[in-house]
């Protein structure tokens, strides 16, 4: 029977929602509860009778919410104040008053012990800020490339192959492999896309020329990479001679105007039409520098060697990207399937290398990019772990401090506990008090740390080469932050809360209460952990920097001073080489210039198929091969060990070779000069004669041995122009003079020069970044540890005031008192040193093994770090212990 049908007013308050009763009971002041609840029930009954239950329930909401107002919520003031005439339960709830009291006491304690409060809050805030920064960094690393919607299904095709007993892994694969994948394994893939490398080219519209980087890639790319199209569609590349450009490129060329359908020129030669504009790819993606995309067919049309490679399985010069089909079996399964896709198509000679094709998923590109002997050995993920661990440790240090100091200080408050208990506090109230106090402090630190992170972030972004922002709007960030605060607050508040509150008030107030000896042990353990971490970080920092210095000091075999190079994409300069060179030298800004096939800081060309007298037939004769012009040696200043440089005086030098030491060793030559080297080419053999041997030139990684290299007077179209500046001219003046000459001979390209020493320095960027960050963290870790130590030392000194007074009266010297107070801490540092040394040695030795050229870990590093930590400890502790030892015994004994 429905309630509204009851004609008589039967009590139907049982239908009123129960939880609303609870809500009102909680909300409403006790003295008003009876009438308010009564009114609500009666009204509900009336409304049910009037409109039925459903509508009444809806209305009930509004009725209840109408009571949320101060005059209903406010509790009646205590007895003696007007209006107490109203009935009610107790005149006033105790909890708000007590909470106010707790807060007041907490603030008074913070203000009275300014130094402790500063150490406590500051230390924790710094620790939290560091942990947050590292957290942001890790988040950024892990979300790398996730911008692409097909993140899980994209991969590059790579290959392993065997060279002289070692498995080498490389990204470049032969061109016909793409067709093979499409035809034989087509059902596995949604896209198979051939691509060039990301190359720099000059784009121009009218007179406006800009140097931009982009790929020649098959038309499926925008769809695979899920580019966000601002103009045009993702199908834009299907049009022949089209180009899709990024938003920033579009703005640079066309500003506000509409770029669609406009014609751009690549290297002033190929005209392409803009068919789309895509949103710039975010900084934390692999393709963040992708300024434009041009259809693959253009690459085939303009470059003969690409056209000739269409059926050549031996030319491994291309990239292939794939996207798995939606129903595909997964990366591993497809990898296994396509393993022999290349092997079936190559000749016997090449098959000896046993090439294996596999997929490298996009999720591995950034963090797991290194291979050793055919096995993925990680890569950047190591840094994610390293920094994650450091972050966790710094945070741990800060928490340890916080706990140490709070527990140490809380012992001073035993009397307060005694009095509170005597006046009638029950234990749960004391627990609540101490816990809320420590939570308060933790939340203050949290607020400060947020501020700190906001301030440090730009600097940190700079050092870490990132573009991170605070995750203000990410719930997970807040969830983590706040739950961490609760955890720290509860753990560090638990000692005073549970231990102190258990004392008998009589004992405390009579003064017979003693904190046991064991009370200090957990604190000491915590100090040991702190210093272990700090010492290990110091050792790590020193070794990272020594390794960088070691590689920097390596002899490089040529002179990088005042050496700059320019990449050219047209043959304009190459065709007027002599005139161009004369003009440059005439300008007075240049001592010498030469062309080369590879930049000075890299090797772009590797060839096999060389033969010489005494070669082991099984040896895979793979060399770095660099074409140069006659003046190259003079320009870069290479150093001869034997023989002579290329010279225009000998016409036969066009088939001459200059080897480096590594090549001589690799070939096992006793008397290299005059030896004959044969190269197998498509139509027979080329015979070269060795004319000189130079010292190894470090052009690639400064941590790797130099590769066996052949320099020849190449018949190449000119890739790089290398210029040695006149040391008597200032760099800026020289550059502007050279720029003018460049404009004369090569008006189509912008003058983009690079200084060899700056480019080379970039090779240290990764290691230097680690070094800077490690230093930063080590300093902070030590700072936080010292803060804690300082607090503890002052606490101990204060606790032993009386003892020191008595000792002084009995004739102890200041020095012996200083020793007494300091020796405990020194002992702790020694223990930490003992723990830190083997751990640091183990991990750093592992790290150094990664580099072929690495420094040795010598014993003095450990001694220095240990001594450093000891000195810092002594300084910190001495400040307090000397102060205590100098105190006048009369004052210290008279206290109380």
């Amino acid at each position: 029977m429905k309630p509204e049908k009851s004609s008589s007013r039967k009590p139907n308050h049982q239908y009123a929602p129960k939880w609303i009763t609870w809500f009102i009971e909680w909300l409403c002041a006790p003295h008003l509860r009876e009438e308010v609840l009564g009114d609500l029930y009666e009204r509900y009954a009336l409304q049910v009778a009037q409109w039925g239950e459903a509508k009444a329930r809806r209305r009930y909401w509004r009725e209840v919410l109408a009571y949320v107002r101060p005059s209903i919520i406010r509790r009646q003031p205590a007895v003696g104040v007007p209006h107490h005439r109203r009935f009610g339960t107790y005149p006033n709830p105790t909890n708000t008053v007590m909470l106010r009291n707790y807060l007041k006491i907490a603030f008074r304690n913070l203000v009275r012990n300014k130094v402790y409060s500063f150490i406590n809050i500051g230390g924790l805030a710094v620790g939290m800020a560091i942990a947050m920064l590292i957290g942001l960094w890790i988040y950024d690393e892990l979300s790398f490339d996730k911008y692409h919607k097909n993140y899980d299904r994209i991969a590059t095709v790579m290959q392993h192959y065997n060279v002289n007993g070692e498995t080498v892994t490389q990204l470049s694969v032969p061109l016909p492999l793409a067709n093979e994948l499409r035809t034989t394994y087509g059902s596995e893939f949604k896209h198979v896309l051939l691509s060039s490398w990301t190359e720099g080219h000059t784009l121009s519209v009218g007179d406006k020329k800009l140097w931009k980087a982009g790929n020649y890639i098959e038309p499926g790319a925008p769809d695979m990479l899920s580019l966000k199209m601002l103009k045009g569609t993702r199908a834009g590349l299907k049009e022949p001679y089209s180009i899709m450009i990024s938003e920033s490129v579009a703005n640079a060329f066309f500003g506000e105007g509409d770029p669609m359908g406009k014609v751009l020129k690549i290297d002033n030669q190929i005209a392409v039409k803009v068919t789309g504009v895509y949103e710039d790819l975010p900084y934390n993606t692999q393709f963040n520098n992708l300024d434009y995309l041009v259809p693959w067919q253009v690459n085939v049309a303009i470059r003969d060697w690409v056209k000739n490679s269409q059926d050549r399985w031996s030319n491994n010069s291309f990239q292939i990207f794939v996207q798995l089909a939606d129903h595909s079996a997964g990366m591993e399964a497809v990898s296994a399937k396509i393993k022999e896709a290349k092997l079936q198509h190559i000749d016997k000679e090449e098959a000896k290398q046993k090439p294996e094709i596999f997929l490298q998923p996009m999720s591995n590109w950034h963090l797991y990019s290194e291979f050793k002997n055919g096995v993925n050995v990680g890569g950047r993920i190591q840094f994610v772990w390293l920094f994650g661990i450091i972050g966790a440790f710094v945070l741990l240090l800060a928490c340890i401090n916080f706990m140490n100091l709070s527990t140490a200080r809380s012992e001073k408050r035993a009397k307060e506990v005694g009095i509170r208990k005597a006046v009638g506090s029950i234990r749960s109230q004391l627990i609540g008090q101490f816990l809320s106090e420590s939570l308060l402090v933790v939340f203050i630190s949290f607020a400060i740390s947020l501020l700190l992170v906001q301030l440090i972030l730009p600097f940190f972004n700079d050092v870490a080469d990132k573009k991170m922002t605070m995750l203000w709007s990410t719930p997970v960030f807040w969830l983590l932050g706040i739950s961490f605060c609760f955890l720290t607050g509860l753990i560090s508040g638990s000692y005073p809360a549970f231990y102190l509150s258990s004392f008998q008030p009589v004992k405390i107030l009579k003064g017979t209460f003693r904190v046991g000896r064991f009370a200090a042990i957990p604190r000491q353990v915590l100090v040991v952990i702190q210093f272990t971490v700090s010492v290990a970080l110091i050792i790590g920092t020193i070794i990272v920097f020594r390794q960088i210095q070691f590689a920097k000091n390596r002899p490089i075999g040529y002179s990088r001073n005042g050496l700059l190079y320019v990449q050219t994409t047209t043959a304009d300069i190459h065709n007027h080489y002599d005139a161009f060179r004369d003009d440059l030298i005439k300008s007075g800004a240049v001592v010498e210039m030469a062309e080369s096939e590879s930049p000075l800081t890299g090797v772009w060309n590797n060839n096999g198929g060389f033969d010489w007298a005494g070669k082991d037939p099984n040896q895979d004769a793979n060399f770095a091969v660099i074409g140069v012009t006659h003046e190259f040696g003079k320009t870069v200043g290479w150093q001869f060990k034997e023989g002579r440089d290329f010279s225009r005086a000998f016409a036969t030098d066009s088939l001459g070779l200059v080897l480096n030491e590594a090549a001589v060793k690799f070939m096992g030559l006793k008397n290299p000069v005059g030896q004959i080297v044969r190269e197998k080419t498509q139509d027979g053999f080329l015979t070269y004669k060795v004319i000189g041997v130079i010292k190894d030139m470090v052009m690639e990684s400064p941590y790797e041995p130099v590769k066996q290299t052949l320099f020849y007077l190449g018949n190449f179209s000119g890739n790089f122009v290398n210029i040695k500046l006149n040391p008597n001219t200032s760099a800026s003046e020289a550059v502007s003079k050279i720029g003018a000459v460049f404009q004369k001979y090569n008006p189509a390209s912008p003058f983009n020069y690079k200084f060899a020493d700056q480019e080379y320095a970039k090779k240290f960027a990764a290691e230097e970044r680690i070094g800077t960050l490690a230093t930063f963290f080590a300093i902070l870790a030590i700072f936080i540890s010292c803060l804690g130590l300082f607090g503890l030392a002052s606490f101990v000194a204060e606790q032993r005031t009386k003892e020191i007074g008595v000792r002084k009266v009995l004739g102890a010297s200041v020095f012996s008192l200083w020793g007494l107070l300091s020796k405990d801490f020194v002992l702790l540092v020694f223990i930490s040193f003992g723990i830190a040394t083997p751990i640091a040695w183990y991990y750093l030795d592992n790290w150094l093994q990664k580099y072929k050229y690495h420094t040795e870990i010598s014993w003095w590093i450990f001694v220095a770090s240990g001594t450093g930590a000891l000195v810092v400890t002594l300084l910190t502790v001495s400040f307090q212990s000397v102060k205590a030892a100098l105190m006048d015994p009369v004052t210290s004994l008279r206290s109380e």
């Binding site: 007013r9 039967k10 009590p11 139907n12 308050h13 009876e34 009438e35 308010v36 609840l37 009564g38 009114d39 609500l40 029930y41 009666e42 009204r43 009954a45 009336l46 209305r59 509004r62 009725e63 209840v64 919410l65 109408a66 009571y67 107002r69 005059s71 209903i72 009935f87």
Partner: protein, 111 residues
């Protein structure tokens, strides 16, 4: 005497208390006002207005009997105090004087 501290809603509630006397309490006042004005009126709003009126001394209150609909809770009954009555009369007098000054033609126009 300050009259400005009697808000419009308060005035209506005070009048309702007078009209429903001696059985005036939040629920019946809210119901009565809903019936008269056609707008929905919550007991919470009435309750708050009554609290203010009591603070100003225009009404006085006592606890009445409990009923079953109220879950056995007592109701708070309100009566208009002497001060409250005077205020109501003052307000009415002001209004009457103003009404009388309105031109009769204008009044006819409104009808």
């Amino acid at each position: 005497m300050r009259r400005s501290d009697l808000g419009e809603f308060e005035e209506v509630v005070l009048l309702a208390v007078a009209a429903l006397s001696p059985k005036a309490y939040s629920v019946v006042i809210a119901e009565e006002l809903e019936r008269e004005t056609g707008n929905s009126v919550s007991t919470g709003a009435v309750h708050a207005a009554l609290q203010r009126l009591e603070q100003k001394g225009y009404v006085s209150s006592f606890l009445g009997e409990a009923t079953a609909e109220r879950g056995g809770r007592r109701k708070r009954l309100f009566t208009v105090s002497a001060l409250g009555g005077r205020i109501l009369q003052d307000v009415r007098a002001v209004r009457n004087r103003l009404w009388e000054r309105i031109d009769s033609h204008l009044l006819l126009d409104w009808q």
